[in-house]
Amino acid sequence: MSAALLLALLAGVQARADNAQVLKIITWADYVPAEVIAQFGKETGIQVQVTLSNNEEMISKLRATGGAGFDLAQPSQDRILGAQQEFRIYKPFDTGKVRLDEFVPELLDIIRKNATIDGKLYGLPYIWGTEGLIYNSKRTRISDYPDLCKPELRGRTAVRLKRPTLMAFALASGRNPFALYDNTKAYTALMEQVGKTLAACKVNFRFFYDNKDQLLNGVRSGEIDAAMMWDSGGWALNRANPDIKFINPRSGAIAWMDTFALTARGRNDAAAYAWINFVMRPEIAAKVARSVGNFTAARGAEALMDPRIRAQFAETFPDGLKNIKWYPAIPPGLEAIEGAILDRVKAAD
């Protein structure tokens, strides 16, 4: 009896000792490749545990625990400010512990603008990319978001029933939703109008997808001819089948950037800083970039990027990043307005 008790106690001590060497990250698929985890483990002795998620789930999970359970999260840059003001799930970075010169300065500036609260920085850039349109050039040809609603594409397109879709169709209607973020009345009116457009377009959507694989599946099986999609997925499809194109829509692709954010009650900040400094080394960042198929915010990693992806980038964006819209930080409460509109689209006949 006492031997068993002792054993249990020892096991508890052992588990605690192990805990100090574990870094828990909540992130997106492909952002933390196994190869990089192994290399980090060899170098530092720290184990990395990965939980896959998306923006909304990340915030909800951290909200439920008051920012505990994970040491590092990777929300999109526009999703930090509002979530922090509302739920206090993050803690600021000690910028002295990060090698800031490893980051692309322009991307760091965007984060500084969107994720600084009371002079403290709550995010660091990691991976960025764009969301635009894909289409199968054998079946159709499109150039802007509303083209997904063309009558001949009935039942053959797909979007996500989430805010990026609202933003895209708002931009395509000639208005700038980002300029109205702080004007609740005008923003609600614009969203209502976009909601009507999407409801009328619903016959064209075969489904609303929740993850990349669902859409890739639909396109590969030939059920989907055109869709809103991230660049990495679009380029992956294009590499497998050159008929499928990823394009920058006339109204402009929307650029997102996923970040590092320290959780409010994370237990292993030291490991989190070590990890950030590790993965932002150009050669490691290039490995991550190959795993995701997107560009990272590490300075000098672009030169090590897969030349095929660089060529695809040049083909999609011949004018560089001129016609790309970056998301500004979402103020608290904005998502309630959008939520009501998305519910109505879902319920439309």
């Binding site: 509302e86 206090r88 099986s221 309630a336």
Partner: protein, 294 residues
């Protein structure tokens, strides 16, 4: 010793309390407490970041926005329909297992009903998706047989949701029905035939009244499972699923609106309670009898 008789009941009461403690703790910590917390959540409203006031706004939103009403009623109606269909499908199966098949055959049939439950609901539902999607097995078969010229999309319809729900809940109807039908004495049916009864009248006058507690128990279980199902309607219904549990998930996870989600949760709880009460009243059964038979 004068204390002895008094000590025994005290001791026994303590034993009873200790034996019940795990169940009571479970009930209290995992069911009562979270519900109290949710109830409190549902009666407040966010007025500014991190500021909440007591209010009925969440319930007002539900009654004021026809959209939520529609989904609520739709979920109730489709769940009732799925329950009725499950009963129709399960009754002949249960009858075969309980009355027609003998020995090993009856055990085998039971296992056949059970086998799909060896894999998780997700896998079963994905299986249906592989069968029914436009590039899937069944549409290809229909084209091959010449019944359709083009592959048709069989997913994302209400009928698809019903198929999935009936499939998922079949076992929960078959089990109580088999139990009830097995206890029905064959001599009663033979006597009914001797007295000139026909198949239909025997079913109505003898079999159904005997199996009524089993039918009610099965219906209650299936209805509750269906009403609270999230996966099947969402995956098979796609863009048109409109299931109330999905609304609750959306409010909690993607809208960060726990208050609205909690209110929706309580409305669903009220709905299932009301429907079960109504079912018992209509069928003239008593809850305690039904639960004993289930």
């Amino acid at each position: 010793m004068p204390e002895a008789p008094a000590a025994a009941p005290w001791y026994r009461r303590l034993m009873l309390g200790l034996l019940l403690a795990p169940a009571l703790l479970w009930l209290f910590a995992l069911i009562v407490l979270p519900h109290v917390d949710l109830a409190l959540l549902s009666f407040r409203e966010r007025v500014a970041p991190r500021q909440y006031v007591a209010s009925l706004a969440q319930y007002r939103t539900f009654f004021g926005e026809p959209l939520y009403w529609r989904v609520f009623v739709r979920t109730a109606v489709l769940s009732a329909l799925a329950t009725a269909l499950t009963l129709l499908v399960a009754f002949p199966i249960a009858w075969t297992i309980a009355k027609l098949a003998r020995g090993r055959m009856s055990a085998l049939l039971f296992v056949v009903c059970l086998i799909p439950f060896w894999v998780s609901e997700t896998v079963r539902t994905l299986g249906w998706m592989i069968l029914l999607r436009e590039s899937g097995v069944l549409p290809a078969l229909l084209v091959h047989l010449g019944l359709t010229t083009q592959p048709v999309e069989l997913l994302y319809h209400d009928a698809t949701i019903l198929v999935g729900l009936v499939y998922t809940s079949l076992l929960f109807m078959v089990v109580p029905l088999v139990g009830n039908l097995e206890s029905l004495d064959n001599a009663l049916i033979e006597a009914a035939y001797d007295l000139g009864g026909k198949g239909w009248s025997i079913l109505r006058e003898i079999v159904i009244p005997h199996a009524a507690p089993g039918i009610t128990a099965g219906c209650i279980v299936v209805f509750m499972l269906t009403l609270g199902n999230y996966l099947t309607p969402t995956l098979l219904g796609g863009k048109n699923s409109l299931w109330f549990t999905e609304q609750i998930y959306t409010q909690f996870i993607t809208r960060f609106n726990w208050e609205q989600g909690a209110a929706f949760g309580f409305l669903l709880l009220a709905l299932s309670t009301a429907m079960v009460w109504l079912g018992l009243k209509v069928s003239g059964q008593r809850f305690s009898d039904v639960m004993r038979r289930a």
